[in-house]
Amino acid sequence: MIDKRVADPEQAVAGVADGATVMIGGFGEAGSPIELIHALIDHGATDLTVVNNNTGSGEVGLAALIRAGSVAKMICSYPRSTNSTVFPDLYRSGRIELELVPQGTLAERIRAGGAGIPGFYTPTAVGTELAEGREQREFNGRGHVLEHALTADLALIKARVADLHGNLLYNRTARNFSPLMAMAATTTVVQAAEVVSPGEIDPEAVVTPGIFVDRVVHVGSPAHESDLVARGVTYP
């Protein structure tokens, strides 16, 4: 019988090694798996490469992970936030590396990684500094840049509903990168506000099929980043 549940966030992130690549779902606070990120901070793995669209806000969640010194490199499209100086301070002092990727290219690199496609050509960024030094090729008279797939050792995902097989539903625009990251990681860990039995999610409605999910942890009332930031919470 398949039951992918683990007892708590600590067990969910167990086994991540120093130097691992970790994909973290979310766009801003929508879909950010804060409880799993905090468990990763507690775990203490260092020298991580983290893939997320942003770099967090305040001093909780992703920003807290970066502030803890766990992250050697960020791969993202938009490392700015109105209410966090964590990433900018480290970046300006040369203590964190940044790979800046156009948002759609980032999504497609992750999708490709999960789909067994090692690389692809895209017209995005041709003629800009983000395409400098990259292999380029013309298709239909138009320039394209070669992009390489992204994979990860671990993906941290926030879902609204999971069943014991790992089939997932998300909440509104909290879906964003998560279905792609779930495919692209060796181990995909999901925190879900509701965990149900197989059959309780309509197969027609499943967004992420359970084959892409390894561990499910029930986090009944997940924190919202903006609430924590507004209350001045810092982690740990």
Partner: protein, 222 residues
């Protein structure tokens, strides 16, 4: 010494751009000034707004107390989903963009060059580089419009011969809405297709740092 011409307010610019959006269009509005266009879509014209973080059918900000921190736009502001809306993941969202399925995007600009080059993502120097979805939008959306003040606050033209800031895309802009004029990108540079009331072509040309011609059709002239 002549005084600077009086141009449109931000709201008036948004209303002017909204007038040109066709009924039934799928449109992505950039963060900041272009977002305001949504408030001025004419009655009887149905436009489906796309936000790249995974929503088609985006509606206005929610009433106080009715927001969901996980229902946001690309600027991370809380929004609503209108009847007929759909949610999707980022690869699908950028397939809509890169695959040419969106009719129009309207973006802000630091500079637009006479050949349609756009610079809007980086001021260079010490700023933290952040590109978001801008390069994907300009590479894939069928029509790329820009909405911007004609000049910077210190009076420097933003419509230029060639961009000095890092490029977002090469030859991608089709049309520019400024406080002073509506300007198309033509084969020989900027083409003024409409002027703000009370503003002359010569005034616009004097505040533009690239080749520009008067392309208003006689029918449009009043």
């Amino acid at each position: 010494m002549t005084s600077a011409p009086v141009g449109l307010s931000r709201e008036q610019m948004a209303a002017r751009a909204a007038r040109d959006i066709a009924d039934g269009s799928y449109v992505n509005l950039g963060i900041g000034m272009p977002e305001m266009i949504a408030q001025f879509i004419p009655e009887g014209c149905e436009v489906i707004l796309h936000t790249e973080n995974g929503l088609l059918g985006m509606g206005p900000s929610p009433d106080d107390g009715y927001g969901d921190p996980e229902l946001i736009n690309a600027g991370k502001r809380q929004v609503t989903a209108l009847p007929g809306a759909s949610y999707f993941h980022h690869a699908d969202s950028f397939a809509m963009i890169r695959g040419g399925h969106l009719n129009l995007c309207v973006l802000g600009a630091l500079e637009v060059a006479a050949n349609g080059d756009l610079a809007n993502w980086s001021t260079g120097g010490d700023s933290i580089p952040a590109v978001g979805g801008a390069m994907d939008l300009v590479s894939g959306v069928k029509a790329v419009y820009v909405m911007t003040s004609h000049c910077t606050r210190d009076g420097t033209p933003k419509l230029v011969e060639s961009c000095t800031y890092p490029l977002t895309g090469v030859g991608v802009v089709d049309r520019i809405y400024t406080d002073l004029a509506v300007v198309d990108i033509g084969p020989d540079g900027f083409e003024v297709v409409d002027l703000t009331a009370g503003v002359s072509f010569d005034e616009v040309a004097a505040l533009t740092a690239g080749p520009i011609r008067d392309a208003r059709s006689t029918e449009v002239e009043r």
